[in-house]
């Protein structure tokens, strides 16, 4: 029979262990955030008119920086006890969404397609399925993709400034497809839903750019087919 004092002592031990682990997690997440910022800075160059032709180089450069994130994720994964991912995932939710967005941007710039969930997990060195260990939560993946659309709508405008008139058409098409994809999902009234509600503004922004180009006859028919 455990005594009352024991019950409370055990709980204090539990609290202490919990506190310590969270501190540990926080410090790894801080490093992850730093890495994400570095990649983000490297990729921001795509908005500069002079860098327009250099996308491939920029992407390769950014991609090489993911190695660091992979190590940090491995470190983080090692700290999480089995089946307790969701006890702590508030700590790394945000930074993971950021990494999804960054890796999705790299893949889009290189190949103009949507990065799959499996590809993101390869970028970060985490698992796809929850059963296999430290994984990529579906919500975080979707959230990251929604962040991508925002960045791309910005890129659509800056591409025009840089004299690339065909890119906005392709971006508009891509975001339109994503929009219809997201509409398939039955979202609850949560953060993801809120973020998704903002997607229509990105769609609108791209359509406006396309409209401006079209009405001025700045896109030829071939550009449109592409």
């Amino acid at each position: 029979m455990t005594s009352t004092a024991d019950i409370f002592n055990h709980f204090q031990d539990y609290l202490n262990a919990d506190h310590e682990l969270r501190e540990d997690i926080r410090s790894v997440v801080r490093d992850l955030e730093q890495t994400a910022r570095e990649i983000q800075t490297a990729l921001q160059a795509i908005h500069q008119p002079s860098q327009c032709a250099n996308f491939i180089v920029l992407c390769e450069n950014a991609k090489s920086m993911f190695g660091k994130a992979e190590e940090q994720y491995a470190l983080l994964a090692g700290k999480i006890p089995e089946n307790q991912y969701y006890r702590f995932n508030d700590h790394w939710k945000f930074v993971t969404q950021r990494f999804v967005y960054l890796s999705a941007l790299v893949v889009y710039l290189k190949e103009e397609r949507l990065i799959s969930r499996e590809e993101v997990t390869k970028f970060l060195g985490v698992q796809v399925k929850r059963e296999d260990g430290f994984h990529l939560d579906l919500d975080d993946y979707l959230m990251g993709i929604l962040n991508l659309t925002n960045e791309l709508s910005r890129l659509a405008m800056n591409a025009v400034t840089a004299g690339d008139y065909s890119r906005p058409l392709r971006i508009s098409q891509f975001i339109g497809e994503l929009d219809s994809g997201f509409r398939l999902l039955n979202l609850k009234n949560d953060a993801l839903r809120k973020r998704f509600d903002g997607l229509k503004y990105d769609v609108k922004k791209c359509e406006e750019v396309v409209y401006d180009l079209t009405i001025r006859g700045l896109v030829n028919k071939e550009g449109k087919v592409e």
């Binding site: 709980f11 969701y86 497809e177 994809g181 398939l184 039955n186 979202l187 359509e207 079209t214 009405i215």
Partner: protein, 357 residues
Amino acid sequence: MAFNQRNASNRQRFKKNRDDIDHNHGGRDSGEKRKRQKNEVKFTIADDSSPIMKTFQLFQEELDNRNDRYERIVKLSRDITIESKRLIFLLQRVAGSDDRETLLSEAAFKLKELNASKFFELAQELDGQDPFQFVRAFSPGLQEYIEGVTFYHYLTMEKLIGIDKIQPDLTFTITVAQALESSSLNIQNTQIIDLTTKDQQKALSEENLAPKAPEEKFVSSSTKASAPEELASGNETRKISVPIPPTEYMLGVADFTGELMRMAINSVGAGDLEKPSVVANMMRVIHDAFTTFANPPRELRQKTRVLRQSLQKVETACYTLKVRGSEIPNHMLADVFTLPSAVAVDNFNEESEEVYD
């Protein structure tokens, strides 16, 4: 089949929304070019074979599955809350009652039955999942249950029961075949829950219990020793459980002190003048422990404040008994307490009183 239908209706809805959007911000657009553009967009939407649509269909399924499970767990948690509240009101009648034993055994039966029905279903839902993904869905019910269980054990043994004594009651041994069966029966389960909640509104007669408690199907590990034959009949067994996170347990204990306070005040009304000081001791032990915790969760800090108020009420009662006890006869002393807790009884109380009276 249903999946396809849903997709179709989604797509339709989407088209409609889509048109709305075009109306909203496409007002200034007109002319042929714009029209062609619009048609193009529509074409992509209808195109099911696009890889993006295909992946999102998979995501839809995954999200729906998870949300459905979450909702089912919320439902179970609500049922557990209702049952636990009833249990607690029953236990409140134990203090000062002449028929203590009958009431306590009725409570024990209720506990067992709750474990066998709702908690068993909950354990099945959580089987193979990360319980922390759903902890927000079942924590209200679990806390209320802990409050009831700790109260029950306090009444029978006059001490605080630990997690290690509660957890076995929420751990079930099932055969592997059952596990498969239960996962495919999820939809049916929700229907059963709908029915039982309605039943519970009416009355909890013996007949009602029979269909909802799958008693033959499981063996609670606490009673495992008494039923080895049943285990032997299944081929392979496995344990499933509703885990009790320590924080949830402590939050339940915090609520339990509220019941202690209510009991202390009520028992004076019933003529038991010793109770408040006994209860005050118990509450003091818990209060002292709560205030010494380093880095407590935010919820626990809030509940500690409430606990302090309850404790002070009981301490005031003890004080009044001591001071006034010397001048007023015992039978009149009870009236001195204009029971604040009796007023604070919520609507639910009246409802469930009807059920049991």
